[in-house]
């Protein structure tokens, strides 16, 4: 009997506490600066150009093969990079949000954004192209530094 009474006491005390429910569609959910949402392509605001050079490092390391890139020769002289990205497709339906692409990017051009609310009735709409990925990451700066083990060639910034 005593144990059952204890259980009643417990339910009564939790009845008196307020609910812990997150009112998600009405209130913004809990996200942190590190939350792994959709990957986004960073934009260099100083030079007003995309950082990505289309080097394909992320596509090679992606466990789920969700990235496709193509590049062309870089002709401007704002930076001394040799190539610039033309196509950058990312299939969010395949992406497993592991952030390996962020880890391996030598130019710090891709970043996991807390953006998570994307869904569609057509799976083909889940394939995001370059401009959409840039829009997702617009206004975002790299919050996490590359770990030393994966540190690649740092990006050289122009005077801009």
């Amino acid at each position: 009997m005593l144990g059952i009474l204890k259980a009643f006491k417990e339910t009564l005390s939790s009845f008196r506490k307020s609910p812990v429910t997150e009112m998600y569609p009405y209130e913004p959910p809990f996200v942190t600066s590190r939350t792994h949402g959709a990957p986004g392509l960073l934009w260099n605001d100083d030079l007003d150009m995309i950082i990505c050079t289309g080097c394909d490092a992320c596509a090679r390391e992606c466990p789920c093969d969700c990235i496709f890139t193509s590049l062309e020769k870089y002709t401007d002289d704002v930076t001394d990079q040799k190539t610039i990205v033309v196509d950058f497709y990312l299939d969010l339906a395949l992406c497993c949000y592991c952030s390996i692409c962020v880890e391996v990017c030598p130019y710090e051009a891709i970043e996991m954004t807390p953006e998570f609310a994307y869904s569609s009735y057509d799976v083909r709409e889940m394939v995001l192209e370059k401009s959409e990925l840039v829009d997702i990451a617009r206004g975002l700066t790299r919050t996490t530094a590359n770990p030393p083990g994966a540190q690649g060639k740092p990006m050289k910034k122009g005077e801009g």
């Binding site: 009997m1 059952i4 009643f8 417990e10 939790s14 506490k17 609910p19 812990v20 429910t21």
Partner: protein, 364 residues
């Protein structure tokens, strides 16, 4: 019987037919809200103000849904079963006096009527379980039948004491008798406890919901039902909870009698209290196993209720004086129950059978 009487009777039944879904709607809402708050959730809150329209929305959804009949079902038995569960439940409602005037059929044997009729429901569940052509339904039905038939006994015997005290089987007379003396829960606490427990087992509510246990037999007899037929089972369940609460109000808590407030409000208050308690039980207690449930019925509740009946009979014949002997007896009984009865009779640990184990790999 004049034509007017017939019309009045039909109107009364129609009112009850409208009342039954209303009861179910209110109770589902209350249950979900209360369970939600106990579990620190919100419960329904999205549809309508404070989620009030959630229950009607669910009801409409159930009505719109396709009512499937499995290929392996015994078609007619499967289709008729919900009516046999729903019908008697409504019929029981007619016998319950909400107030002195507000009763559909004031019967001289009202107590017997309201407690005996639910036994018909079992037939409906047997048909549902057998007709579904599903093994889980069959197991659930076997549990349901064993449980419901066993618990009829303590349920009936426990209220016999009250009938003796009130000298009547008429529910209105029982309430009047309480109004003139004292609520029977005071003089018959054991009977009240047994009545609530047996009633919960009858209606398959936690902690005795083994027949429809969704983590074990996934709804038992109801497993294959969908749409409006499932809604009828659902309705019957909640009306049964209401009947249990209303009956305990009428039999033990003084019915509609009470000062200041109008009688119907007193009735609603007391019933609401009991219903809240039943819903609270659902949030607090795990469920028993079938053999423990049967042991509790036959070895504990039935002897206790019979003892209670004997005590009341002795009081009726010899007056209050022999009752003094009851005090040490009840103390001893309570101690015995606490120390022995639960662990010896109800828990029933089974020695595990010798196991067929793989032979260990020989070393080296």
């Amino acid at each position: 019987m004049t034509l007017l009487d017939v019309v009045i009777a039909i109107v009364k039944v129609l009112v009850l037919l409208i009342l039954a879904p209303l009861i179910a709607l209110v109770f589902t809402y209350a249950e979900r809200k209360l369970l939600g708050r106990i579990q620190q959730r919100m419960g329904p809150w999205h549809v309508g103000p404070m989620g009030l329209f959630q229950a009607p929305a669910d009801a409409i959804k159930l009505l719109m849904k396709e009512s499937l009949t499995p290929e392996k079902a015994e078609r007619w038995i499967y289709l008729i079963a919900p009516f046999l569960v729903f019908g008697p439940t409504i019929a029981v409602l007619t016998g319950i006096p909400f107030t002195r005037e507000l009763v559909a059929a004031n019967l001289d044997l009202g107590l017997l009527y309201v407690l005996a009729l639910p036994a018909v429901v079992i037939i409906g569940f047997v048909m549902a379980g057998w007709g579904s052509g599903n093994k889980y339904a069959l197991i659930g039905t076997a549990r349901m039948v064993a449980q419901a038939i066993s618990y009829e006994l303590p349920l009936l015997v426990s209220v016999l004491g009250v009938a003796l005290l009130a000298n009547s089987l008429d529910l209105t007379v029982i309430v009047e008798a309480q109004a003139s003396t004292v609520w029977y829960v005071v003089v018959q606490p054991t009977a009240f406890a047994i009545f609530i427990m047996a009633g919960l087992a009858e209606t398959s509510r936690t902690p005795f919901d083994i027949a429809i246990a969704e983590s074990e037999v996934m709804g038992g007899p109801l497993i294959e039902y969908s749409g409006i037929r499932w809604a009828m089972f659902f309705l019957a369940e909640y009306v049964n909870v209401f009947i249990l609460a209303a009956l305990s109000t009428v039999i033990f808590l003084g019915g509609w009698a009470g000062p200041f407030l109008p009688p119907i409000l007193w009735f609603a208050l007391k019933t609401g209290f009991v219903v809240t308690f039943i819903l609270w039980l659902r949030a607090t207690l795990p469920r028993l196993r079938i053999d423990q449930l049967m042991a509790l019925c036959w070895k504990v509740l039935l002897p206790l209720s019979l003892l209670n009946l004997v005590v009341v009979s002795v009081q009726a014949v010899y007056g209050w004086l022999p009752m003094i002997a009851l005090v040490p007896l009840s103390v001893v009984l309570a101690f015995w129950f606490y120390r022995r009865a639960w662990t010896r009779l109800v828990m029933r640990p089974r020695p595990s059978a010798p196991r067929d184990l793989p032979t260990p790999a020989t070393a080296g």
